[in-house]
């Protein structure tokens, strides 16, 4: 009991100390974080890239190559999940029957599924204008497919179509990069005009890349879902 109270008092003292140190040193709302290299991004980002969403400008334009790597990481992860789960059924005799979803959930998924897909598409198409982007939009698209899985225990996707889509959009990303290499001498360099920030067709190659990333991420996450929720016949 005494130990506990001593610990609590110490924590309280520490908390107060940290609070006042920070409160004295860091005035509220002061942007001490913008020093050095980040200044350059903040003050020149919109002019350089034409994207009004600065995070997108950094992720897809300045650091476009990293993003290509990240998408590849996701692809490898999806493949790994598939490899691990491929032959992992439940032990025979212990299979339980899944409870079917009720008619309300099933019908709800019929109506809401296309709408969710459209939300996802909206998010990655507007990646350079509003928060969110390819990864977030892809996650929403995967959520729409998850709704299908939740509402119907026998639902499964057509793997061939999904793999084909994924390959095509992955190749689009790489092709855009190679075109930059050919036209300007740098991989993934922006070769399209920037346009005026705030319009849909602006920011050069960013929208193209984000659409590709969105579809790719959606397809990959759906593939993982399918592997995990596969029904044993």
């Amino acid at each position: 009991m005494i130990k506990k109270s001593i610990a609590l008092i110490l924590i309280a003292i520490l908390f107060v100390a940290i609070f006042f140190t920070l409160a004295n040193d860091l005035p509220f709302g002061d942007n001490r974080t913008t020093t050095g290299v980040s200044d350059k991004y903040i003050y020149h980002g919109v002019n350089d890239t034409g994207a009004s969403n600065l995070v997108t400008a950094i992720v897809v334009n300045y650091r476009g190559f990293d993003t290509l790597g990240e998408v590849t990481v996701l692809f490898v992860a999806a493949t790994g999940v598939g490899a691990v789960l491929y032959n992992m059924g439940r032990p025979a005799g212990k299979k339980r029957k899944k409870t079917e979803a009720s008619l309300i959930v099933r019908t709800g998924s019929r109506i809401l599924f296309p709408m969710m897909l459209l939300f996802g598409a909206y998010i990655f198409v507007h990646g350079h204008l509003t928060p969110g982007g390819g990864f977030q939009g892809g996650a929403v698209i995967a959520t729409a497919f998850l709704f299908k899985y939740v509402s119907d225990t026998r639902y499964h996707i057509d793997h061939n179509k999904f793999t084909a889509t994924e390959s095509v959009v992955g190749m689009t990303f790489a092709l855009v990069g190679i075109m930059g290499l050919l036209l300007t001498g740098y991989f993934l360099f922006n070769f399209l005009p920037n346009g005026s920030p705030g319009e849909l067709l602006s920011a050069g190659i960013i929208p193209i890349i984000y659409v590709a990333i969105g579809i790719k991420v959606g397809a990959e996450l759906t593939g993982i879902l399918d592997n995990m929720m596969e029904v044993e016949q």
Partner: protein, 120 residues
Amino acid sequence: MNFYTVLEYIGMFLVFVGALFLFLGALGIFRLPDVYNRLQAGTKATTLGAFGAIIGIGLMRPEWLPKAILIAVFILMTNPISSHALARASYRRGIKLWDRSVVDRYGPYLREKEEKEGKR
């Protein structure tokens, strides 16, 4: 007093009513005796509360109105579905009704159905 001021006052009223209903919903979740009754309060009151608040904001900023209506309608469509799924799952999980409930037609139905499937 022009048109927009009137809209703004209506919007403020709606936001206030919405906040009030959000509070009532939470109070219902806090006070009522079992899961199903709590769901009743939780679904209805929070849905109307959020609906009122969001539409109210939409009226105060007319250029946001379409998207606000979209969010509100989405909530109106999804909230009943999730609370229905929750109620059904609770019953099938074996969570009992309040002991002063007067009638339960669902339990006999489930048992009957199980028997039928067991025979098959």
